[in-house]
Symmetry: C2
Subunit: 202 residues, 2 copies
Amino acid sequence: MEVGGNPRVIVLFDGYSKTGENFTLANCTCTLIKGPPHVIVDTMTAWDGEKIRKALAENHLNCDSIDFVVCTHGHSDHIGCNYLFPKAVHIVGFCISSGDKYFEHDFTSGQEYVVSDKVTVIPTPGHTMQDVSVIVRSCNGVVAITGDLFEKEEDLRDDRIWKSAGSDNEELQVKNRKKILEMADFVVPGHGPLFKIDKQEV
Amino acid sequence: MEVGGNPRVIVLFDGYSKTGENFTLANCTCTLIKGPPHVIVDTMTAWDGEKIRKALAENHLNCDSIDFVVCTHGHSDHIGCNYLFPKAVHIVGFCISSGDKYFEHDFTSGQEYVVSDKVTVIPTPGHTMQDVSVIVRSCNGVVAITGDLFEKEEDLRDDRIWKSAGSDNEELQVKNRKKILEMADFVVPGHGPLFKIDKQEV
């Protein structure tokens, strides 16, 4: 699924979660914002390096072309391949770093981080206390790449879906879900395909 | 620094944090528990792959020898090199996985995860809501590898140190710090050298 002109939002892999007997099969949605600057959002599990490399090549990029890695939060299915991107600035939840240099930025007070004139990172805690979302102002509308703030489109009508995926603060998550539904036209959720927001329903 | 016979606790790299003008230089303590099973606790930043490979080789191991990767929490300076260990089970905070298979385990209710008869992983939230610590019963005493539940030894006498390093729930962190100080003889903190607990002071 692609949205926009420049920057283009390209969902490289739709996330999923399927419950088995004593386990869940799960991986996150992995999204490329093709700029420049080029941004990858959520790097899946540590076992997905080859898939990511191949998907970037299909988009005429490689790991060293990526300027920013953003992990919406620090769960293992969202940070697994950060290792592939030593030339990028890494934003993992509320931490911004390059090597062992950690830059000051006050996400806790609500401050947005500006990647470019069309791409910002904003704090959206709830699922964890340090979740962020990436907001892209594309020519087709505003796209919010939210990680597990939204599990999948179905949880718009059934709160049990995102709650059962784990929430460190449900009240805060409700508040930030509402904020995203008001500001965005499309949502890229953590474990399902991109969906359009029906503004009649918000 | 080494502690114990079998399993042996070997601190591969002491963590640090030093404040600059608009940034902090920081990396986590990285610890090997040499078994078998072999466990690595906290894999530093995504830029530290070669350092870790070399340190394992000096201990007659390689990445494929590691049976468990434990990240005490999902901050970027603790998960950066998980990618190097595709043959291990990964425990990142409260999530336990191999590939896209996520195993059920109720850390939220306090349940410990048994790695071996001498090594367990227990929930110790506070710094994030999903922090874990690794408890090793070595022949020299109980070693607790705690990540940022303790920033460094100095914060035993100055709470401002661990609080300023970020805490999602200070009250919970105080409670879990106390629990560790009571149960352990040694602490491997997130950003400083291993220290011995003075039981007179606890």
